[in-house]
């Protein structure tokens, strides 16, 4: 089989999308391409289909919240980051593509375009991220919650979401116990 020699993903993306590539981070032998959120589907398709790259396997999508309880967003460009972990079967190497997205206000939510039509596996991973972090993946065909119940309020993996301790109760009185249960208040 005639396999095209591997290309450097950083240089290739920089050449193809000079405006979309915002930053390149190297840590512990892992390469992260920070790209503009709006360009994500195009960059993804390019990474998947270009000979010499062929990132044909989507390992994981992880959303991360940079909110700090003491204020600020840890010096990042925006509050939320979404990391796409790609793997190339042919060249046996990994790559992380990352987008940053702002929190939005009361009306708007953080929005990232979907990559479901590039890697179908992204469907549930995106649903999980939107369930847990409240990021909307525009274009995902199924936007129901995945892990939490449909009527759940809030997004548990945000850093400002409380852990929800339940106090220990020293009583056999059912009424007393129910009074202190952490049910949602009206």
């Amino acid at each position: 089989m005639n396999v095209k020699p591997a290309l450097d993903p950083v240089e290739s993306v920089r050449e193809a999308f000079p405006a979309a590539l915002l930053d390149v981070v190297e840590y512990a032998g892992e390469t992260t391409l920070v790209v503009e959120a709006a360009q994500l589907p195009r960059v993804s398709r390019y990474l998947r289909d270009t000979a010499g790259l062929i990132y044909n396997f989507l390992s994981d999508i992880s959303a991360v919240d940079y909110y700090e309880p003491t204020g600020g967003i840890s010096g990042r460009p925006a509050r939320f980051g979404v990391s796409y972990h790609l793997y190339s079967m042919l060249y046996n190497r990994r790559l992380r593509v990352k987008v940053y997205v702002d929190e939005g206000d009361d009306e708007s939510k953080p929005v990232v375009p979907t990559v479901v039509n590039v890697w179908p596996a992204a469907n549930w991973l995106e649903r999980e991220a939107s369930d847990m972090m409240g990021i909307v993946f525009e274009g995902n065909p199924d936007q129901r919650r995945l892990l939490m119940p449909d009527d759940w309020q809030g997004h548990p993996h945000r850093r400002d979401y409380p852990l929800g301790y339940e106090t220990i109760q020293f009583s056999f009185n059912a009424e007393e116990i129910m009074k202190h249960k952490p049910f949602a208040k009206e």
Partner: protein, 420 residues
């Protein structure tokens, strides 16, 4: 009574309707031509608490909508409020059939994040434990898969052998299942003296046990009828949907992370990666059976390697691994390290890493993001069951309900792994 009213509220709030899934089932379901049926969440053949909403035309599955999350316990969120060493304990509870694999994925992510070394001996010890875990997980899979398809006795034999492995785990960690034996930088304690002979005894008798299982199933005409040609996945489809492990290799894709990106010194072991051809339930079955034999080969090699392996069972880097008890009486520095590590733990940089290893079910990946402090900012596990349950509709649509049970069994799902 407050309890009654709380329950009552729940009941009146529940509205059963197909509105939520209207665009996901066919037009015929809305008009009542086909039937919507709930399978699960409490059904023995769904291997835990998986709910499947099935749209049926007679007995044929038109649409299958998996509904997960019943076992969601917020493990990732819990780890975010714990120091790195304590986080290991939480990872056991995800994939409860392969706790050692989860431990290792998390520990390797921590090691990569802070740049911690793992001595050679600890690596060999981890390999032994990981491969024993693979065997015991496959035994549960085989037993439950077979019982789903009506072969009762295989279940009993498999659990008999699994119990022996769990006894070995109890010997090294004090617990049968949730041992938390792996720690950042190595393992918890050295193997006790009885462990290695115990493993050897097990390895001597186990190949003949696999022969027994195969005698019962591999050429059994009933088994062939139920499994061949069912739930076929083409290799490119399996890749696109993110399948991994035996589910991917059953379709003939040669991707085993132990071979492709070796970790813990797997490049030094001589073993094969069994591949299927047709991508059906039967080929996935064969892959896993053969994998158990390969695991035996790996453990044998690891046991030979163990006496000559350099280093201890845990890293000597005292900034990350607590000193042994004996040092505390002699060294002030050891006391300081002990105190620091057990009160606040160690700090990790504000960076992200992703580590993936080959668990019995496939690629288990750990995404770890530090804060610069002693607790992680974000831990996310990419779990094989999650990806495989997403693919169940793909494998089951067009088949009968009974075949759906075979498909679920063949991808070896663990709901704790999926929901975390």
């Amino acid at each position: 009574m407050a309890i009654d009213s709380a329950l009552e509220n729940k009941v009146t709030e529940w509205v059963g309707s197909v509105d939520d899934v209207k665009n996901l089932v066919s037009e015929r379901a809305i008009s009542g031509e086909t039937m919507l049926l709930n399978l699960g969440p409490h059904h023995p053949s769904t291997h835990g608490v998986l709910r499947l909403l099935l749209e049926l035309d007679g007995e044929e599955i038109v649409t299958c909508l998996p509904d997960v999350g019943f076992l969601h316990t917020g493990i990732e969120k819990t780890i975010e409020s714990k120091s790195y060493e304590k986080g290991v304990t939480c990872t056991d509870r995800m994939d409860y059939l392969a706790p050692m694999s989860n431990n290792t994925a998390f520990c390797m992510a921590v090691e990569k994040l802070v740049g911690l070394d793992v001595p050679e001996r600890a690596q060999v010890m981890r390999v032994i434990c990981l491969e024993l875990t693979r065997i015991q997980s496959h035994l549960v899979w085989l037993g439950t898969h077979a019982i789903d398809l009506g072969a009762m006795s295989v279940f009993l034999y498999c659990f008999r052998e699994r119990e022996k492995i769990l006894d070995l785990f109890e010997m090294i960690s004090g617990q049968r299942m949730m041992g938390s034996y792996m720690r950042p930088g190595g393992v918890w304690r050295d193997f006790p003296a009885e462990f290695v002979p115990g493993v050897e005894t097990f390895l001597d008798e186990f190949p003949s046990r696999i022969d027994d299982y195969e005698l019962l199933l591999t050429t059994n005409p009933l088994w062939l009828d139920r499994t061949q040609g069912i739930g076929v996945v083409e290799p490119d489809v399996a890749l696109a949907w993110g399948f991994s492990g035996p589910t991917l290799r059953g379709s003939g894709v040669n991707w085993d992370i132990r071979k492709a990106m070796p970790y813990l010194g797997y490049e030094n072991y001589n073993f094969d990666v069994p591949l299927g051809e047709h991508g059906d339930v039967y080929d996935r079955y064969l892959c896993r059976i053969r994998e158990m034999r390969e695991s035996i080969k790996i453990i044998r090699q690891a046991l030979q390697r163990l006496p000559g392996a350099k280093g201890g069972f845990r890293s000597e880097n005292r900034k990350f691994c607590p000193p042994p008890r004996a040092e505390l009486g002699q060294s002030m520095e050891a006391v300081i390290h002990h105190f620091k590590l057990w009160t606040e733990g160690f700090a990790a940089p504000d960076q992200e890493v992703y580590v993936a290893i080959e668990s019995p079910r496939g690629e288990i990946g750990c995404y770890l993001h530090g804060t610069g402090g002693n607790k992680p900012r974000r831990v996310h596990f990419k779990t094989p069951s999650f990806m495989h349950i997403q693919g169940i509709p793909l494998m089951s649509e067009g088949h009968m309900i009974a075949d759906l049970v075979a498909v679920i069994g063949s991808v070896d799902i663990v709901l704790g792994d999926c929901d975390r």
